[in-house]
Amino acid sequence: MIITGKTLPRRTFLRGAGAAIALPFLDSMFPAMAALGRRVAPPVRLAFMYVPNGIDMKNWNIEQEGAFSAPFPRVMKPLEPFRNDMLQLGNLTHNSGRALLDGAGDHGRCSGSYLTGIQVKKTTVDIKASISCDQIIANKIGQETRFASLELGMDDARQAGDCDSGYSCAYTNNLAWRSETQPLPPILDPRVLFERLFGTGVVLSPEETDRQALYRRSILDFVVNDTKKLQTSLGPTDRRKLDEYLSSIREVERQLEKAEKDSVALNPGLEKPYGVPPDFAEHFKLMTDMLLIAFQADLTRVVTFMMTREGTSRSYREIGIADGHHPCTHHQGKPDLMEKVTQINEYHTKQLAGFLERMKSSAEGDSNLLDNSMIVYGAGLSDGNRHLHEDLPTLLIGRGGNYVRPGRRVIYRKETPMCNFHLTLMDRMGVPTEYFGDGSGPLDPASLT
């Protein structure tokens, strides 16, 4: 760490053996502006959080257009505390997810097209999609952060094989595509994510790795000298911010250690990476805690998060559902299965609410991290039973840096391309793009602002 004069560079790292911790926004990074009573606007972050197999639309869609007035329906209920932080968008459609003569395989198509906006090639061998909108953004603004983008997931990152009626698993298991043939597999293992965020990229020998694991210390121990040095140069407000931030990293470490112990103790035969917690909520919290830190420290501004892979048949024993998610969604109107789908959807939004709470509690200048972000939460199918690709469930959460006017239900015209939404997001992220996928043009700005 090198501190020159009174200004703390935005790209300051606390360094130690094998560790490099980026810092959150601190007032001392902008002393001149602070002296003038003006603040530098924090960057806008964008995250796509994807849930598979559609959503119970009867318990999702808010009937009334305009400002939220009625209580939220059941699946949205956990998000009530954030009703003034989000827009619920209606009628966005992915035509390229539809069969269009390619037959069965709606799950493979819907996730493949979700951020790429095109009809993916039906194949298990020579995969072909298109660069995804998050990567278009990352290519343009990614040089401003340590990671151009982060790809996260929680379920399955297989890249080969047939995952849906002739569609490669590359389509169902990835959201981000660097090019038309190169998906970006999500990181599933919290430990891997932790090392990626806070490691230096130095490759340790197996012996060194074992030794580090045996005598594992907090990553904060490795950067203690830099931390002390920095603390002496900070004012009281920044010192408090730094303490809170480092505590949050330590908390993630504790969760990781616990998860690793539980993972071995509870599921010795489980085919999951060492550090993946067996419990969905615990896994989600770990991943999103690190996502939050990545945003907070401006390690990246673009994240895709596949909560579970499209078409997943994961069960949710955590909430007493032993049946697979996907089979439940093909309920054919059977009330018991429909109820299970609703419960799974509700469980997901509960987890989301926890993440949003943490985002909102993370102060950033006069606002908070959520205000300076755009979190898109949604699915590539609406009705999972019928495999419908219209009226895709979509939330835009956060204000995108004083851009979005939340607290409303916005319903667009039928068949409005989802790609129009992507065009709008790209524009807001500073990457105006004339054409994307099957988009017919950005959404009416007045509908969002």
């Binding site: 459609t93 690709h389 219209e390 054409y435």
Partner: protein
């Protein structure tokens, strides 16, 4: 065991865009498409109106429901494609005029005061932008197995051309665009073109596939017989097409019907109902008149116009009556209009 061959090619798909408010022949053409569907000769793959008018969209929805023989959902029902009940409408300020054709249908009441015809469309968001709808529906068709018929201003259809990547898709999917507008080889400016000259000019100049124009002279030479309205539609206690026809003008009258000629030619281009001009180029002049220039020209001679064959007149008018007054087509399979 017998090997299973490729699935049979479905009948031609027709995307119809018409001015239901100002052209009774556009209403008749929707009925004619039902007649073709009932005979298994064509599928209506998209229905859109060519002026931004909510009442026209509602009437399109009424017709769609009437011919489906059941309520059709515009929100869900699309398996493999946009849903059958979706109605397209151009972007733009919604027209304030209420042509009698539309109000006659929408305000018709039963003895108990309830509406005879119902529509699920109440606001703009209940419709789709017709350019997107037409593009999306074309993409769901086999190559060269779709035809687009326009019987109204080109406002919405011209915008299809502005959609990124749409031109090669049009070339692949739509083997023909039939435009019921203009006058050929020359004549007065015609309403559909005058209503949006810029869009018509763009459509004729840039549509990348073959185009056949059906001028007002064809419509005048082959009108729909008004007498048919009083006799051939009696099978339905209330028939929206008959009601629209009666409201459009003082009865009795025979309606000029270039939209019917356009639709007939679209479905049966090779059956000798009409003659075709030599290849050439149609341009739209500033005052809304159309001009046909024979030869390859700028557009490679992709344009032709329809010519009435007097020998076919009786046969055609009888066919008009049979098709337009046909009962709803049997309900299609689960995949509806999808190929």
């Amino acid at each position: 065991m017998q090997a299973r061959g490729p699935a049979p090619r479905p009948p031609i798909g027709v995307a119809f865009d018409g001015d239901l408010g100002h052209r009774i022949d556009a209403v008749l053409a929707v009925a004619m498409l039902n007649g073709f569907a009932a005979k298994g000769e064509a599928r209506r793959i998209a229905l859109s109106i060519s002026r931004p008018n909510l009442k026209a969209a509602q009437v399109a929805d009424v017709l769609s429901r009437f011919y489906a023989g059941r309520p059709v959902s515009a929100t869900a029902g699309g398996v493999g494609q946009a849903s059958e009940g979706m109605i397209g409408m151009p972007e733009g300020p919604v027209a304030g005029d209420d042509p009698a054709t539309l109000t006659a249908i929408l305000s018709k009441k039963a003895d108990d005061g309830t509406a005879v015809y119902s529509s699920s469309i109440t606001q703009l968001r209940d419709t789709a932008e017709n350019a997107v709808l037409v593009r999306n529906m074309l993409l769901a068709q086999n190559d060269a197995n779709a035809i687009v018929v326009l019987a109204g201003p080109a406002t919405g259809l011209a915008r299809v051309l502005a959609l990124y990547g749409s031109r090669p898709q049009i070339v692949a999917k739509a083997k023909l665009l039939v435009v019921a507008a203009g006058a050929f080889p020359s004549g007065s400016p015609e309403l559909s073109i005058k209503s949006d000259v810029a869009a018509a000019r763009k459509l004729f100049a840039e549509w990348p596939a073959p185009l056949v124009a059906v001028g007002s002279e064809v419509g005048a030479a082959l009108p729909y017989p008004g007498a048919s309205i009083e006799t051939d539609f009696a099978w339905a206690p209330a028939h929206p097409v008959a009601d629209a026809y009666r409201a459009s003008k003082t009865m009795p009258y025979d309606a000029a019907a270039s939209a019917l000629a356009a639709t007939l030619h679209a479905v049966h281009p090779d059956d000798g109902y009409f003659k075709l001009s030599e290849p050439g180029t149609i341009t739209v002049l500033d005052d809304g008149r159309t001009r046909f220039t024979p030869g390859a020209g700028e557009r490679d001679g992709r344009h032709r116009y329809l010519i009435v064959d007097p020998a076919q007149t009786d046969r055609i008018v009888q066919l008009y009556k049979d098709l337009v007054s046909a009962k709803p087509a049997p309900r299609p399979g689960r995949r509806g209009g999808a190929e």
